[in-house]
Symmetry: C2
């Protein structure tokens, strides 16, 4: 049988829009999504799940109501469930997000940035 690894950079070559997650892999009922981000996202939370951010290139920030974190390439951060957060990147940043299937990127906040789910590449 033919087994193939998943190359992050190859996946990023396939799209250019910001804040629009593409699913590249599934593990049990979780999904791995690559996203290009730039500028401000919206305040939101995820009531039922933690969310993992891994920065693959560039740097991003996540603002919280009581502080913020900078995440550089080669770093990760776990946003715990129910915590309001607002991602931001001054320059285009390429990230990997890990979360359960079905999670909406903007939480319960409907926004122009709310993305369609289950877009596999």
């Amino acid at each position: 049988m033919k087994y193939e690894s998943i190359n992050f950079e190859d996946k990023f070559l396939k799209f250019s829009d910001h804040w629009s997650p593409r699913v590249i892999a599934a593990m049990n009922d979780y999904q791995f999504k690559v996203v290009k981000i730039k500028g401000n996202f919206v305040w939101h939370d995820h009531k039922d799940t933690d969310e993992v951010f891994i920065v693959l290139s560039g740097k991003m920030e996540i603002e919280f109501r009581d502080g913020k974190v900078e995440i550089n390439s080669g770093e990760m951060f776990v946003v715990k469930k129910g915590i309001e957060h607002k991602p931001f990147a001054a320059e285009e940043c390429k990230i990997l997000i890990i979360e359960p299937c079905g999670v909406i990127n903007t939480g319960e906040e409907k926004s122009s940035l709310t993305a369609e789910n289950d877009k596999w590449i």
Copy 2:
């Protein structure tokens, strides 16, 4: 409040042994573990869960009963549950493993490579 990202390279500086996973983060009931690997691991499977490998530096292979996959830095692979596999790295390779809490690294195969769980760094 003070929020801090998790830097993979900083974590790898804290240990040098091979095939001994260190937990660096938790997401819901899943754990993120960094591991340094070199040489041959043992054949094993995980009956109840998929397992994700992300190569952070170097390259590794995973052998299956009917083929194999090479995973380079910047790539990932999902071993589906119940599939027998044997990881291998010719030179030291630094990887991130994602799997549910409580998974034993050698599956049901007791081995000198069976590692203690929940070793946080």
